[in-house]
Symmetry: C2
Subunit: 337 residues, 2 copies
Amino acid sequence: MATLRDIGEFGFIDRIRELVGEPGPGVVRGIGDDCAVMDLSQPDKLLVTVDGALEGRHFRLDWVSPYDAARRSTAGAISDIAAMGGRPFATFCTAAIPAHTCTEHATDLMRGVADTARKYGAPLVGGDIVGAFDRIMIDLVVLGWAEQPWLRSGAVPGDILAVTGCLGESAAAVNLLCSNPALLNEPEFARLRKRFTDPTPRVAEARALAGDPAVHAAIDISDGLVQDAGHIARESGARIEILAGSIPVDPSCEAAGACLPHRPPWSPATSGEEYELLLAVAPGEIERLNELLAKSGLGALTAVGRVLEGQGVALLGLDGEELALETKGWDHFRAEQ
Amino acid sequence: MATLRDIGEFGFIDRIRELVGEPGPGVVRGIGDDCAVMDLSQPDKLLVTVDGALEGRHFRLDWVSPYDAARRSTAGAISDIAAMGGRPFATFCTAAIPAHTCTEHATDLMRGVADTARKYGAPLVGGDIVGAFDRIMIDLVVLGWAEQPWLRSGAVPGDILAVTGCLGESAAAVNLLCSNPALLNEPEFARLRKRFTDPTPRVAEARALAGDPAVHAAIDISDGLVQDAGHIARESGARIEILAGSIPVDPSCEAAGACLPHRPPWSPATSGEEYELLLAVAPGEIERLNELLAKSGLGALTAVGRVLEGQGVALLGLDGEELALETKGWDHFRAEQ
């Protein structure tokens, strides 16, 4: 008897795609991207994303407060709107919470949702409350607008792959928390702490670049750079090569590695919940886009790879050799329990 | 230390309303109705509803198949669109499923969502997959259109309260399942079985009546007639009196009662997950609305009460005396575990 563990999260999504059928009029893009896209017969398209966060899977309340758990989860959902070049405008939340939960903790959880949603221009406007048995789960729905949404399918051979910000910080924070939680409160690791408890979805960067014809495809890095690049490769019918040495990593990640008793088992190539944007950009355009970002006071893109004819995704070492990966990124049905 | 059980589901929602603040431009109605309402600067309004269903709380897989559990849950979400007089057009689903789940069961679950969504004109177009630890949870998001959404707040003194269909069947089915599950497979109870596994959200009735000025307010009965009438009373700033003797009950409910070893502990006044519409209608208009429904081949409305000056909701007996209720309906944080 096959279980979901056998077919994996993406095998299961493929099955769902098959049984769903045609999405119906007005839906420009259904399953297979960061958001669904609706054409409402007006200039802008409606983006819709849903993003569930389960206690023990997406957050641990011995690591973060209910407020921070909610901020993190809400930022993750809003990041999907940024990944389509969109402007978030409304948030919904289903909260499944056990009845024995302290009211103040439950309220802090919802305050984390409401504050984060408001911060990025998408106030909480609805939801559902469920009496859970043990674990908390919050499911975030965010609506956004986009003039011309970035899809995963738009990359073409010759494009340069570029990321916002630095990668690996989310995994570094988790590794510190696993080995010595107190370390994350040290001033040295303030950046990692902030990135873990209050990540910044790249809405401002998306808005600064939205509509620019040089951006061909986009995704946000929620499962890991290699795996998410794989989604662009698959949807675009192209091959992607990532140069491991070019991935931007903040020095705080290396400092975290030095504090750990053994070689850190994470890689910025597979660290999930980064919420940086991964863009496929027309060749020779990165510098111009970085000037656009700088004008808005935003950090630069870093080139990390390129799009080629073919299929699949490869991580290349300094001599161009393909590096083996234990995992490409997060799979919900293949995670360690 | 107060817990959610102390303040109850609706006490918690009140807290959330407070911390959410203003919903922002374009949002006509935020928390406090069946759906949020968006004004997209075009003739029709966008409706958005989210509705979570947790294994062991909303469905039991020893009572229904994964397919039926999903049909039931999806119908409940679509019913929220009907409750605003809307036309559903797109569905999203977050599914939290344990990795050890049989793939065919998991696929049947999603097929139940996809089939039901398509049946009511709102094909599944997106979602999220979460690796759960033990229980399945599905969170449904449905989008709909409405020319002029019915709100809970539109009832005025003098209105007649009316329902579609009959009430009590969902609770009767649960009672049969609790005492003797095999009974529900008897031909005599086919109607109860259908109502329990494949309830019909009243989309057709809503569409037949949408835009009629005689419909002042509406809600769907998901928590129980008295409790849901209470939402109309509260949002409309009015009092509602329901005549217990006028509540339409199908004979199969009485037959179910006769099969049970003790007096059935349910009442059609408090039975939840009915997914019938409860409408506040201008006086003297029910007959005309029923003619409209009949023209579309749909069943009639039944008057069950009236709207008065004042506040609160009362269930009245044959002599006009107020009947005591052990519960007004479902509260997620006050349910027996």
